[in-house]
Subunit: 295 residues, 2 copies
């Protein structure tokens, strides 16, 4: 099976499940439900749910789309939590982004109050979805993994440090922390959730967690590099934003060459972590996706 | 046991548990943890956890403080969710309240970005606490009850309608919806959680849910009345705020006399719902607390 076909079939399933789980836009209070749907269906690449599926299908040793149906609450929960974080990140008092994926951000379209509540509601909905898992022990373990990823030790912690570092001189450790927490934590959760569901051994779970953290960190380092030397097409937004906002980046702290070397090293680490596993082709494709963005 | 003593002993236990569960203020990222603690320990009356304890002790038929230790994650989760909602409600784009309980609101003290994240983190922490319940089925049921109370069918829905109704002509049904969802939903969850933990019969759960919803609605109607005729001392804030912000209230829609009659009727309903239950003294005290605020 072509990897592109894999992404297409899995994301099609996911879109359908998201549509079923979210309240319809005409349900009271309409504007709130409309805002939630607007942000969820604004063209996200569904990387986290697909990484979750790919990990699960690697663990069971083969591609089997029929076995994914019962995993939909978990896959959708990942995407909802991701969307919630983007809505709050975009708010005027946080990153102040009026655009997201080429369209007005949630608060720009629906107002700040509704955007704050839409983010809150999507996180809550994500947890609610996980309560649907039939095995109660697995359900609790999944909720534990997801709340850890969102918490002050995860994405919220990363965003907090990012905000508090603005216009301050930060060192590479702080920047690494922000990238690992803001981006790595939820990728890690995606892979850990598959391990919890499939009952993977602890060593394997740790290996896959490290793969996810490396992947998230590298993605952000490449983003930092693209912000310096990339084009709108590759970056998905105008480059130069970080230096204009005096934001610390890998290139601003390490230089461009060292940053590239760091990214390449991390990608090799990712590759090495999973190279001997069976049915690892989609995981390797995630490594390639990041590699292909590197200028 | 005097009811006052009951409130004192139970809230003392709760304060201790909250302090143990929340990350210390000097844990990285410090400002975020400090903001969370600032709002949690800003003098709340802990009504929701105490209503939860009171329901549980009514269900087991006697006061037994030793049996409350294992309930602390649930009691604290209620208080954290409540605090999170207050932090987000106070934000400039929502209710724009610079004070809460006589001190600066969270965003006033720590900035808007940190306040948004502190609210997000407290909700996440609340769910995380519920994963600690040893019986996994009970844990999942508790998480389901709490997420329903927070969701777009609960507090978030109520807040959304409240925002979208601002400066609009609303009718009594909309106002009732806002009061029931913003205040009633979490009181209902407090009582339902005790029912889930004690395995109460469905009929009893429904009766207690109705008690909680009535109580929440009446509390808000009395608040509306006090905003018209009350003093700073009873209301805890300057009266007249609703009419200044052209906010619909029970007195503005029904008149003062009819609003008072409505509140009295609801309090009688509350009383009647639990009057024949054993060990109901603390529940009746909740009715009295609301009655005593009525001018």
């Amino acid at each position: 099976m072509l990897v592109q076909e894999y992404f297409k079939t899995r994301s099609r399933l996911l879109e359908k499940a998201l549509d079923q789980y979210l309240a319809p836009a005409n349900e009271y209070p309409e504007q709130l439900h409309e805002a939630m749907r607007y942000s969820v269906f604004s063209g996200g690449k569904r990387m986290r749910p697909i990484l979750f599926f790919a990990t699960y299908e690697m663990l069971i040793g083969r591609k089997n789309i029929n076995r994914l149906a019962r995993l939909m609450p978990v896959a959708c929960a990942l995407e909802l939590v991701h969307t919630a974080s983007l809505i709050h990140d975009d708010l005027p008092s946080i990153d102040n982004s009026s655009e997201r994926r080429g369209i007005p951000s949630c608060h720009e379209k629906f107002g700040e109050a509704t955007a704050i509540l839409a983010g809150d509601a999507l996180t809550t909905k994500a947890i609610e979805l996980l309560t649907e898992i039939s095995n109660k022990k697995v359900a609790i373990d999944c909720i534990h993994v997801l709340t850890k990823a969102v918490s002050t030790r995860g994405m919220i912690g990363g965003q907090a440090v990012d905000i508090l570092s603005a216009k301050k001189k930060v060192n590479i450790n702080t920047l690494r922390y922000v990238h690992l927490k803001k981006t790595g934590a939820l990728l890690q959760a995606a892979m850990e959730l598959a391990c919890v569901i499939e009952g993977a051994e602890e060593n394997l779970t740790i290996t896959l967690s490290n793969f996810a953290l490396n992947l998230g960190l590298t993605y952000q380092i490449v983003d930092d590099i693209l912000d310096e030397v990339g084009s709108f097409e590759v970056l998905g937004k105008n480059p130069g934003g970080d230096s204009r906002s005096h934001k610390a980046t890998y290139p601003s702290l390490l230089g461009l060459e060292k940053s590239k070397m760091k990214a390449e090293k991390l990608l090799r680490d990712c590759y090495n972590l999973v190279k001997n596993m069976k049915a690892n082709d989609v995981l390797l494709e995630f490594v390639n996706i990041v590699k292909d963005r590197l200028p």
